[in-house]
């Protein structure tokens, strides 16, 4: 076990209920370990940045928490419920109340901006659904772009649509996979402030994957460093 929760300097209050808890999580691909025996816990509403070099296992860790992959060993609990265990996902991704912003954008080419958000808002009464869509559009400063398709948007707009889609699910956690990578500094700064404001307003927990320490420090008080699939720093 190489996790360091509760050590001096850790942002976690051990008395707080643990909203997300990873216990002894490992994952390998084609015999190569990606994550090794990882322990981690996060309290509700906490903000955590995961940093580390390329290939350290940052995105894989995010995907395990999101429920897109199951660990080989260990377990993941969300609000004390068993969400994933060795080789098995017990709570599917869309039932975890998490919104994921993908590094590639992952916008569906056949859907307009508003269709993305309606899809994410799910099966709700029409008024409630449209309210969610409007709130997500406003939070991400996408007013006027509702009818556009992904290929009609700039890179920064696409990132904001990805964020708005995640917010439209009314998640409790926002999972961000390198959300600011490859953006010009002014665009990155604008998107950072949009993320910060949206997360603060909705009191969301945030897990940010990045290789940029400044970006991590600007959004998250707690920082976790991964190297070769092992947790080497948690402060």
């Amino acid at each position: 076990m190489n996790a360091l929760p509760g050590e001096a300097g850790s942002a976690i209050d051990d008395r707080a209920p643990k909203a997300i808890e990873l216990i002894g999580v490992s994952l390998a691909r084609a015999g190569r370990p990606i994550l090794s025996d990882l322990d981690l816990s996060l309290a509700a509403g906490e903000r955590l940045a995961i940093v580390g070099p390329s290939g350290a296992g940052k995105t894989t860790l995010l995907r395990l928490i999101a429920g897109l992959e199951a660990p080989d060993t260990g377990s993941i609990r969300i609000d004390a419920r068993l969400a994933s265990e060795a080789g098995r996902i017990r709570i599917p991704p869309h039932r975890r109340r998490m919104g994921l912003v993908f590094q590639s954008g992952a916008l569906w080419p056949h859907m307009s901006v508003s269709q993305h958000l309606r899809f994410a808002a799910g099966r709700l009464p029409r008024a409630e659904r449209e309210g969610r869509v409007a709130a997500a559009l406003a939070a991400c400063e996408l007013g006027g772009l509702e009818a556009r398709y992904p290929d009609q948007l700039s890179g920064g707009e696409q990132r904001r649509v990805g964020l708005a889609r995640a917010l439209a699910t009314e998640p409790r956690w926002l999972l961000l996979d390198e959300p600011l990578v490859n953006l010009d500094p002014p665009l990155a700064e604008r998107l950072r402030s949009v993320i910060d404001r949206a997360a603060t307003l909705a009191e969301l927990g945030v897990i940010l994957v990045t290789h940029d320490r400044d970006e991590a420090d600007a959004l998250c008080p707690r920082r976790l460093r991964l190297e070769a699939g092992r947790l080497v720093e948690d402060r």
Binding site: S104, W108, F119, G122, L153
Partner: protein, 532 residues
């Protein structure tokens, strides 16, 4: 949805593998049952005497046709002209036109050329039968395939490694050491498929009076009705075709996994020496000429549109049955092909299991079409499945086409699945309200063009399917293809030419839709990656 996938895989097993197993059953029973019977079958499987001659003729014709089609196809694909997508795509749309339609068109062209020459005082007799003209017609009918696969191979060549190599080595070295090795597996897959199809085809050789082993097997079964004997006789063909399938596995996996480059000017064009560019231009002209020969030959033979219509009216029952069979086969093949494609795509990067899965997909292509039909008869007429699920005889041609072409649909869908940006599906899994909603609103639209292309591929191939259909056609029913093939033996008439022309135009039309759908699917599968 694991239950649905399991059902699809079961469908593939029933449609594709069970007829082959049913075909093998009497052979195994005979081999195990009596030593004398086993010896006789072993003698048949190890060709000698006339069978060896037939195998020699099969190899001679198919190797010559593959060589010609391969060389011309590669040279034409190297040509940078014509630049228009329509003209460059036209030969590809001919890929599913049945070989015997080419045979009719070329017969007409050769006859007209001979008549014209005679009118000019040149009494040159052009060959109208024999291995030479058979190989030529086979080569022309496979040319769209070899050209298409070579064009795909070159189209998938990435620019960056070639540019990097050009900075350190001569163009000749880069062409020989980088570009050709990178393109070779996919182009070789085209050659392997052309060889396989030519080796197993007996239609064109029969029309040009060349006896090949596939024709011998068909004739022997027609006379004896002995499935074990037919399979034993066909064993050399199956072994050779299985070898071609192994080449297909490597090439098609590479094609499925490669990302297409953009529409910009490809880097490899600059590597071609001047002489080769001239030759490639000539080859491209020949590719377009054979497309023109096909159309002109059929138009000339068919006469006026009124005559074509008059010829078609009596055959409208066959036409409707053909379309129903093709539609039924395309719908039936889709589910099993999609389920298998899901497994093939998921199995990427897992060594032996992946290879076995690809072999299970492609090896059925090595079974000659008449033998597949015989397997279907064994399975559904009196076999155990017939009792469990009694089917009307009119549905057997549907099963024949679905079973023969589902592997190709699976390969095409695998390519589509492997090129799909996985984050698009992950995003749906994260943000969907339920699994069905995610599949309906995201999964299906992303796969839609691929499904349309796969259905269209099976439809066009089923329209021209002959070998297995002839074996399983119920009394009193005929497909347009079967009727046309039977008519051809009495000499080309306007009625036959009219039917062939309609068949060719229908095939080209559907093939064009398939190509457009697949191209659209490539764009959609990549999602928003790299936009703006």
């Amino acid at each position: 949805m694991p239950g649905v996938e399991a059902l699809g895989l079961l469908g593939f097993l029933v449609c594709v593998h069970l007829p082959i197993l049913a075909l093998c059953q009497p052979l195994v029973a005979r081999l195990v049952g009596s030593p004398a019977g086993a010896t006789a079958l072993a003698d048949l499987a190890w060709p000698s005497g006339r069978q060896l001659d037939l195998l020699g003729a099969s190899l001679e014709v198919s190797l010559a046709a593959t060589g010609m089609a391969g060389l011309l196809g590669l040279l034409a694909a190297l040509s940078s002209r014509p630049r228009g997508r329509l003209l460059r795509g036209l030969p590809l749309a001919l890929v599913a036109v049945p070989p015997y339609v080419h045979a009719l068109a070329w017969s007409t062209v050769l006859f007209r050329v001979e008549t014209t020459l005679r009118g000019l005082g040149l009494a040159i007799e052009l060959p109208r039968s024999g291995p030479g003209v058979t190989a030529w017609v086979m080569a022309m009918s496979r040319l769209p395939l070899t050209y298409g696969m070579a064009a795909i191979a070159l189209g998938l060549l990435p620019d960056a490694p070639i540019e990097a190599a050009r900075s350190v080595r001569s163009d000749r070295a880069v062409l020989l050491r980088i570009a050709i090795p990178l393109a070779a597996p996919i182009a070789a897959a085209g050659l392997a498929l052309a060889f396989l199809l030519s080796l197993l085809d007996y239609g064109v050789p029969a029309l040009f009076q060349v006896n090949v082993l596939a024709l011998g097997v068909f004739a022997d079964y027609s006379a004896s009705g002995d499935a074990a004997r037919a399979l034993a006789m066909a064993m050399p063909l199956v072994v050779l075709a299985a070898g071609a399938c192994l080449a297909l596995v490597a090439g098609w996996r590479r094609a499925a996994l490669s990302q297409p480059r953009g529409d910009g000017h490809p880097t490899w064009i600059a590597l071609l020496p001047r002489g080769l560019r001239g030759l490639s231009g000539l080859a491209m002209a020949l590719v377009l000429l054979q497309a023109a020969a096909l159309c002109a030959g059929l138009f000339v033979a068919a006469g006026s549109p009124a005559r074509i219509l008059a010829a078609l009216l009596p055959a409208r029952g066959d036409l409707i049955y053909s379309l129903s069979v093709a539609l039924g086969a395309s719908l039936l093949a889709l589910g099993p092909a999609l389920a298998l494609a899901g497994r093939l795509a998921a199995g990427e990067g897992r060594g032996m299991r992946r290879t076995l899965l690809w072999l299970a997909t492609l090896l059925p292509l090595a079974v000659p079409a008449p033998l597949f039909g015989i397997g279907l008869i064994a399975l559904w007429r009196g076999g155990p499945l017939a009792a469990l699920l009694p089917l009307s005889a009119a549905t057997l041609p549907v099963l024949a086409s679905a079973g023969r072409f589902a592997p190709l649909a699976a390969v095409l869908l695998t390519a589509q699945l492997l090129r799909r940006d996985p984050s698009l599906v992950d995003a749906a899994r994260m943000h969907q309200a339920g699994v069905l909603q995610g599949w309906w609103q995201v999964g299906l639209p992303l796969l839609g063009p691929g499904l349309l292309a796969a259905a269209g591929l099976v439809f066009t191939l089923a329209l021209g399917e002959l070998g297995a259909t002839l074996m399983v056609l119920p009394p009193g029913r005929s497909t347009l293809t079967a009727r046309t093939f039977n008519y051809l033996h009495y000499g080309a008439s306007e009625a036959v030419a009219g039917a062939c022309l309609v068949l060719a135009l229908a095939t080209v039309l559907v093939a064009t839709v398939v190509l457009q759908a697949f191209a659209a699917g490539q764009g959609m599968a990549r999602g928003s990656e790299g936009l703006s």
